[in-house]
Symmetry: C2
Subunit: 183 residues, 2 copies
DNA sequence: ATCGTTGGTTCGTCCATTGAACTTACGGCG
DNA sequence: CGCCGTAAGTTCAATGGACGAACCAACGAT
């Protein structure tokens, strides 16, 4: 991002964090990565982001150690982007931001809810499990569609995210169909 | 911010939150507001932000209900910017981002620490008080300088923030001197 | 040989940020 | 009274980044 020219934003860990994740689109890329999106094209269609910008953001996130590029197929060569431990530790940020957005624009129904996968309880206001009281790490979170969510999104990736989904588990956008196709 | 052209970033509370606080500088303005900065010029010198951008961001934050403009003097007319309840509820976001930045760039000493004002205990990894276990709201947080902090910053606002400081309490930048001047 | 898919790069246009200069409203000083 | 200083902006030229369309490359399928 570079505030001022390069790093004029004094000594502050918030400013340094924003140098990495404060650019346009970056936190949405991280959000989708935490949701389980892993492929270039899947990010592309779900975000509607310009290709050049996506490539630049992925590169920045890799340099920052938030994502990791891994070859999952040799012929043709295909890579996927995985969330590192450092990226997973951005979950509190993403979750807090989403919670604030949900509280702030409360004119609409909740779009998604997050639950402790172990017990199914919906997470509290600060990301903790109401049962055990402890903060739930991203790998133990299950995302469920809320009443306000569009039931028929245009892109296959969003369609694959319509059902309940364990975070970080890869999203299967291969089938454009619903999990249990009726037709 | 307007992703895409206006609001192409589908239905997602994170995207909507970023429409408000995702623009360059905005979260740093919110951070300083939570720290107790209230005046246009104080934001200006502490952030090193262009005047036009600061004016635009303050306006955006007021429109979003995060800040509130209040006249504190009539002659000459002077206004200050106060954090609303909605702005205070951004504390989890700001705190989580700072915590991530601190963990990520751990090559340096911590710059500031946050404590539960009631008991003095340093906040846990998720903003909770280790004693009572509950999340500490921003009005009950005390900020203390850490070992990595520059002891002689250039601008008077940062100087006023050198000592322990209850969040949201107004920063007195009127005196450029230290709390207990030796000279 | 051609088409489609995936994962990019390049390029022209346009908008936002930047930093400097200018403006307004007032208080204080001599 | 004229001049200076401060707080809070607005205006403006130059620049940099985002946008979107087009192009490129490697490969599988037909």
């Amino acid at each position: 991002m570079a505030l001022g020219k390069d790093y004029a934003a004094q000594e502050c860990s918030i400013a340094r964090a924003l140098e990495v994740v404060g650019e346009r689109w970056t936190l949405l890329v991280v959000r989708d990565a935490l949701y389980g999106v892993r492929r270039y094209n899947d990010f592309l269609v779900r975000l509607g982001i310009p290709r050049a910008v996506l490539a630049a953001r992925l590169q920045t996130l890799i340099s920052a150690g938030v994502l990791e590029k891994r070859r999952y197929q040799d012929s043709p060569p295909r890579d996927e982007y995985l969330v590192t431990a450092r990226g997973r530790s951005l979950w509190p940020v993403v979750r807090a931001l989403g919670a604030w957005g949900n509280d702030t624009f409360d004119d609409t129904l909740p779009l998604r809810t997050f639950h402790h996968a172990a017990c199914g309880a919906e997470l509290g206001a600060h990301g903790e499990c109401p049962g055990c009281g402890a903060f739930v790490p991203v790998e133990d979170v299950e995302m469920r569609p809320g009443p306000g969510l569009d039931q028929d999104p245009a892109d296959p990736v969003s369609r694959a995210l319509l059902g309940p989904h364990r975070l970080l588990e890869p999203v299967d956008a291969g089938t454009g169909a619903l999990p249990a196709p009726a037709g």
